[in-house]
């Protein structure tokens, strides 16, 4: 069944249909939240809250755009709010992440893992607005128009933020330019 | 004698209180939109304006007035908008969280159905000063 059909059913009160929507999109939703927040509990909280809010606002969803994009907008808003509210001492779980990645990519050498860590750090160091567009573009593969819809800004803002984000990333990752085969 | 008067009094009050129970608060924000180069947006209507700016070429948005009133089944609400325009809102139906209104201005009659506490209906177009008026009508 297509997403928009599940949405129609959910609107009519079919909770099982909404559960199916949650199952379909929870992976990516959690992943985006995690990449923005770098903390498992927060990511789970925010992702669940986003789905709940989507449920309450189903009446407003016109179905002309994709459910996914609409959901991401709610999710990104919540995650950005969380980021702004956050104090710097919130524990990040990069140590756990490293173990996970070692376990799941046994073929990877240490340099690769370090590279990946540096990239993660560089993205993490971006301010929330820039981080969001980079994640939506490079991680989710959304087009400029879709990103504009998710963050509720004009396409020009998306381009400008990407431009600045990439400039900063390039500065922090510059050392990898040389010797990168 | 007294208990009788009291009972009659209560019976008289009952329809009045029912009418009040059915009274729906209405709010009208009167906004002037224009193309002045300053690009000033009144912060009180910031969120609304952000959505309008996608589609309208106006650069300036000013909140001129806010009118509040109540409509109930037998009594419509009338008010006068900036520049002497009459606006009248009549209650057609209340249905749970939705309310149907009949809105009349000198230029248009319209029947709309709104969610109480939800998004406004916008009526726009009449010229005002250097720009146009936009009325955002919502029901609580």
């Amino acid at each position: 069944m297509e997403d928009h059909q599940l949405v129609e059913r959910s609107r009519a009160g079919d909770v099982a249909a909404f559960e199916e929507l949650v199952k379909r999109h929870q992976g990516r939703a959690y992943a985006i939240a995690y990449r923005m927040l770098r903390n498992r509990e927060d990511a789970q909280e925010v992702a669940q809250e986003a789905f709940a809010r989507a449920y309450f606002r189903l009446a407003e969803f016109r179905g002309t755009a994709q459910f996914k994009t609409w959901l991401y907008r709610i999710l990104v808003n919540l995650a950005t709010d969380q980021l702004r509210r956050r104090r710097p001492e919130v524990p990040e779980e990069d140590a756990v992440l490293k173990q996970v990645s070692i376990g799941e990519n046994p073929g990877e050498n240490v340099e690769r893992q370090e590279l990946r860590q540096s990239i993660t750090n560089a993205i993490e160091a971006l301010p929330p607005d820039l981080k969001t567009v980079v994640l939506l573009r490079e991680f989710e593969g959304l087009s400029y128009a879709e990103i504009a819809r998710v963050i509720r800004r004009p396409v020009g803002t998306v381009m400008s933020r990407l431009f600045h984000a990439r400039r900063r990333l390039q500065a922090s990752l510059g050392v990898y330019w040389e010797g990168e085969s | 004698m007294k208990p009788l008067l009291l009972t009659i009094g209560l019976f008289l009050l009952l329809p009045i209180s029912l009418a009040y129970a059915q009274a729906v608060p209405i709010e009208v924000q009167v906004i002037q939109a224009s193309r002045e180069p300053s690009g000033a947006v009144d912060p009180a209507i910031g969120q609304l304006v952000r959505e309008l700016q996608r589609d309208f070429a106006y650069t300036n948005y000013r909140l001129l007035e806010v009118h509040k009133g109540q409509v109930s089944p037998q009594s419509p609400w009338r008010t006068v908008i900036a520049g002497g325009r009459d606006l009248s809102v009549a209650l057609v139906k209340v249905d749970g969280g939705r309310v149907e209104l009949h809105i009349t201005t000198p230029r248009v009659n319209t029947r709309v159905s709104l969610t109480r506490g939800g998004r406004p209906i916008l009526l726009g177009g009449p010229p005002h000063g250097s720009g146009v008026l936009i009325m955002a009508i919502s029901a609580r």
Binding site: A31, Y34, R35, G156, F163 | R50, D55, S113, I121, G124
Partner: protein
Amino acid sequence: MPDAVSRQAWECIGKGKANVIRHRRYQHSLNAYVDGELGPSERQRLEAHLVGCGECRIQLERLKELQGLLRQGLKNPIAEVAPVLWPGVRARIEDGRPAGQLTAWIRQIWEATWERPRLSLAGATVISVLLLTTVYLLWETPVGPPPGKTVALKPGPAQVVVEAVEPEPDFGAMVLTTSDEDEGLQVIWVVARGEM
């Protein structure tokens, strides 16, 4: 890479002031180019520029390398460890509508005072042309509501539904939905027949 070279690649300084401005505009297009978001004529213009501009070619390569790096770095299969969210979602739904709406509103108003979205001149022109064209088309083709008759519109599950519109004899009315496709505002726009 030495700072001077990378700075130059970013600023793409050519000969004379006109060149600097033109090159700065190309810089922004390079991003769109790498993302496949340039229209065909803009792409041609950029590719023509690239033939003659070494700095921009270097920058393009840098962007492509960055993109490659980011894609690699982001390929971490975090999705596999995503928890099952449904029980938490259901619990929240059963709890009822969240009370945080008011603070969200306040925050949005606050943000709006500091962010002034700038409609570019081109964008504004396009929008006003579209609006004028819409009005023009409505006058030319008999789609607008004829005076004295009501137009009944099909209601949907949306928050705001315009059930009927009846303009006064010398006016016409358009019912628009703003382009926020999921939650567009309903607008009834009234125009005097002489005014446009």
